[in-house]
């Protein structure tokens, strides 16, 4: 399915997978000249920027001095060996193969292991894997969905090709007449995002900050035939109109963004809404995962341990410890970590200062293709090949479908899983 050669009339093209976001678009045409990517066709700006490589590639260093890979690996191994409570974090931009080795490395060193999902889409992915939420694939959405809701999400900026590739504009098996006739796009958000502009006024529902749970309850009441009430006095007529659209949907999908996840303290209102919608219609939920293989890490760890993130392995005990206290945020905040291996992520940029500052006092090892803020503060930096461009691998799309990545250009740099393997052997 993924990078096969398509023939259409005289048109012949080899397609590659874009690793710019978790949509993993598999119809990308690339023009390569002298082992450099010259043009990237069909990908969005985000994808093109990712596939053309780093403007500032990472250099292999130990204590700020340029070194060979063997010395860097030895140093990384000694840091992890000496640490009592190391942390292994990142994995959003790593291949599934590297993620599996990362889990083995955490077991070997008794490390905390976590990824960006612990402060991102984790709760939704966990609920889906535990079968508490009904989900579907993006291909189902393209072929069947007639009501598409973006809740707290703005794909026009976060996943530019979401609407055109899968959810709204394309024709599908059961949606042959195009978006104007066959599909309804709804945006529920606290601001008029670029995606909300495409919904026009009648299908954009602006709710106040943290009003999501209450809006969900109002929708459930409305779907049950009661008068919907909200503390922020949302126009009842509009909620009733929306519930009528949802009730009549043949195949609905809620694309849940970070706005929804951050606004809910517990997922119960969402479960109630999904249950009610599925009583009356057929509704599914897809988390709008950001980094290209964040969901892959959740799947791999779930398969191995039954948990999706926030773990501490104990070498004396087979059973891993799990809970919010083992998340990167809590472990760093409470200064429980004495060394950290960061792979395919940049926590110094993504975490708040009060938490990220605790990384500055401990030895850091960074494995990444590009120079990042975290890499600039690391004791050891090891450059790896860019996934999906310079390295093969597998990744999991935002809907849970596994996608094979194919190398486009050659490189001397090792892949992330080869580097992890060397570190494990050195330990």
């Amino acid at each position: 399915m993924v990078f096969s050669v398509f023939r259409f009339g005289d048109y012949l093209s080899e397609y590659f997978v874009c690793t710019g976001c978790a949509l993993l678009c598999d119809d990308i045409e690339v023009d390569v000249q002298e082992n450099r990517i010259n043009t990237v066709n069909a990908a969005c700006r985000k994808g093109v920027a990712r596939m053309k490589g780093c403007t500032d590639p990472l250099v292999c260093t130990v204590d700020g001095k340029e070194e060979g890979i063997d010395k860097a690996v030895q140093k990384a191994a000694s840091i992890l060996r000496d640490a009592k409570n190391p942390l292994i974090f990142g994995h959003g931009n790593s291949s599934s193969e590297a993620q599996k080795l990362s889990i083995d490395l955490a077991k070997m060193t008794g490390a905390y292991i976590d990824d960006t999902s612990s402060f991102c889409q984790g709760p939704l992915v966990e609920a889906i894997l535990q079968e508490k939420l009904k989900t579907c694939t993006l291909d189902d959405v393209r072929h069947r969905a007639d009501v598409i809701i973006f809740w707290g999400a703005d794909p026009s900026n976060s996943h530019p090709r979401h609407l055109s590739r899968y959810s709204y504009y394309p024709r599908g098996k059961e949606r042959q007449r195009g978006w104007e006739e066959d599909r309804t796009l709804i945006s529920i958000d606290i601001r008029r995002s670029d995606t909300a502009l495409l919904c026009k006024d009648e299908r954009f529902y602006r709710i106040p900050i943290s009003g999501d749970a209450e809006f969900m309850e109002a929708l459930v009441s409305s779907l049950s035939g009661k008068v919907p009430k909200t503390s922020f006095d949302y126009e009842k007529k509009r909620i009733l109109e929306l519930s009528n659209v949802l009730r009549k949907a043949k195949f609905g999908v809620i694309c849940a963004g970070l706005g929804l996840v951050y606004s809910l303290e517990q997922l119960d209102p969402l479960f109630k809404l999904m249950d009610k919608l599925n009583e009356l219609s057929d509704f599914h939920l897809i988390p709008m995962v950001g980094q290209y293989n964040m969901r892959g890490f959740n799947h791999n760890l779930f398969e191995e341990t039954g948990y999706i993130n926030r773990l501490k392995f104990d070498p004396q005990n087979d059973e891993p410890l799990h809970g919010p206290e083992y998340s990167i945020v809590e472990t760093l905040y409470n200064k429980k970590v004495d060394a950290a291996l960061i792979i395919g992520s940049d926590p110094l940029s993504s975490l708040p200062y009060s938490i990220a500052q605790n990384l500055k006092d401990i030895p850091l090892i960074t494995i990444d293709p590009c120079q990042t803020l975290t890499a600039s503060r690391s004791t050891v930096t090891i450059p790896c090949a860019l996934g999906g461009v310079e390295a093969d691998g597998t990744a999991v799309r935002m809907d849970g479908a596994e996608v094979t990545l194919k190398k486009i250009i050659k490189t001397d740099r090792l892949t992330d899983h080869e580097i992890l393997k060397m570190i494990m052997e050195a330990i």
Binding site: F8, A42, V48, R171
Partner: protein
């Protein structure tokens, strides 16, 4: 976007017919459609009392230079390469139902829109529904653009 009235307000409004058009309003319409140039209005070029309006008019018209024959402009600085227009364009769908029409990369050379290097490029514009004898006011590409990077003049 510049309107006909904005252009008309800057013209001499004397209906002198020196440009070959019967009224200044007709001149404004043709100027907006890029069929005529500002310099085709002889009183504006020759008479100094219109010189400030002449400069203003030139400024109004130049930002939309580089338009295609159908009046289609893609503002490359605004385009994010989402491909909504590629999939929504009815000509693309008819020319390439299983590629562009189904959300995938275009598999035909007859399509109007194609995303290259993250920016949409317009080709085969003569196929556009807004062009030719049976033209219609199709707005599929404009309505579906989240950043308003496509416009017609």
């Amino acid at each position: 976007m510049t309107s006909v009235m904005e252009i008309y307000q800057l013209l001499p409004k004397t209906n002198c017919k020196q440009c070959g058009k019967s009224t200044c309003m007709a001149f404004a319409v043709d100027l907006l459609a890029r069929k005529l140039k500002v310099d085709d209005c002889l009183p504006m070029v020759n008479n100094t009392k219109y010189s400030s309006d002449y400069d203003k008019l030139n400024k109004l018209i130049t930002p939309v230079s580089g338009v295609t024959e159908t009046g289609l402009i893609v503002h490359e600085d605004k385009c994010i390469g989402c491909g909504n227009c590629v999939v929504a364009c009815p000509v693309n769908v008819a020319a390439d139902p299983f590629g562009a029409g189904s959300g995938k990369a275009p598999t035909s050379d007859k399509v109007i829109f194609k995303v290259e290097d993250g920016i949409v490029k317009a080709k085969n514009v003569q196929e556009c529904r807004r062009f030719g004898e049976n033209k219609t006011i199709c707005v599929a590409c404009i309505d579906t653009c989240p950043t308003k990077a496509i416009e017609f003049v």
